[in-house]
């Protein structure tokens, strides 16, 4: 079992933007579609761990993170179980972001169950 890494500040942007592409640059939607989702698929297919390093950016808005991670369930159709099993978050600068992301995933999964 290998490891795939994503460092958002290097591979995407040092200043993450809003939720959708139409709302502004470096959006959560763009990050999910161009970086997160392809790497997640690759990790899932090869039973690898996907390590996402959140440090080094200017800061994350709530909707950027919600769209990136909650969108994996809502828009891409991945299961909460696979995400929890595969993704590992590193956030030394803002440790509470791990809990926030878990909360976005839980809400998205619950919304899917209701729908």
């Amino acid at each position: 079992m290998g490891t795939i890494k994503i460092k958002i500040s290097k591979e995407f942007s040092e200043a993450p933007g809003p939720r959708y592409v139409i709302e502004g640059g470096a959006s959560g939607e763009l990050f999910r579609k161009s970086v997160l989702s392809p790497k997640f698929r690759e990790a899932l297919a090869g039973s690898h761990k996907l390590v996402i390093d959140l440090d080094g950016t200017a800061g994350y808005g709530t909707s950027f993170l919600e769209e990136s991670f909650g969108g994996l369930i809502r828009e891409e159709g991945f299961s909460m179980e696979d995400i929890i099993k595969t993704i590992e978050i590193i956030s030394v600068e803002e440790p509470y972001l791990k809990d926030d992301i878990h909360e976005y995933l839980t809400k998205a999964a619950n919304a899917e169950l209701v729908a």
Binding site: R19, E23, G24, A58, G61, T62, S63, E66, E93, Y96
Partner: protein
């Protein structure tokens, strides 16, 4: 040894001066009903030196703690200034999305740095105050950067408290009021932290 003497020269001068005064008073004055003992018991002498040592040690410790607390309180002052700046930037209801996010990251890091500094010193940790302060910073971040997704937009129609266009967040008046209240609470909590640090 020389270093120690240099570092404590004022204390030593003060002790020497006090001994001189004591000697002079003993030599040149006579207080009725009191008599100056010409011989000193070694235990009394030890007692005097122990008292002096404890006095100097306690005074030094209190001074050191006061200096450290003053530094932390000044640092919280700079957080309060930054929080004021953040509030001004959002008070007219418009702010750049990435700026709103980065300001909140900076605020939470400034608060966390104070918390870490306190934990390295022997001061009470004030953990409840820090949980509340960081909670408020996160609430403000959510209020200023949590824009609705497409489903929420459909449900709420045009009555949205927050919108983003070209990377600029626009807040409705009601949302600005809520954000203002959160900033007031944050400033109050920071002030209370300063006060309790000062008392500890």
């Amino acid at each position: 040894m020389l270093n120690w003497l240099h570092k404590h020269k004022f204390h030593l001068l003060f002790i020497a001066f006090s001994l001189c005064i004591g000697f002079c008073i003993g030599k040149f004055t006579s207080v009725p009903y009191f008599e100056v003992e010409k011989k000193w018991n070694i235990l009394t002498l030890l007692q005097v030196f122990c008292t002096l040592f404890i006095g100097i040690y306690v005074a030094g410790k209190i001074q050191k703690n006061k200096t450290e607390k003053d530094l932390l309180i000044k640092r919280i002052d700079s957080i309060l200034e930054f929080v004021d700046e953040c509030y001004t930037s959002v008070s007219d209801g418009e702010i750049e999305y990435s700026e709103a996010a980065s300001r909140m990251k900076r605020a939470s890091q400034m608060v966390t740095n104070i918390q870490q500094a306190i934990s390295t010193l022997n001061l009470p940790n004030h953990s409840n105050e820090f949980v509340e302060i960081l909670g408020l910073v996160r609430e403000i971040r959510d209020l200023t950067t949590n824009t609705p997704n497409n489903l929420q937009k459909q449900v709420k129609g045009s009555n949205l408290p927050i919108e983003v266009q070209d990377g600029i967040v626009t807040l409705a008046n009601e949302r600005v009021n809520v954000v203002s209240m959160k900033y007031d609470s944050l400033k109050h909590k920071l002030l209370m932290l300063q006060l309790s640090l000062n008392q500890s």
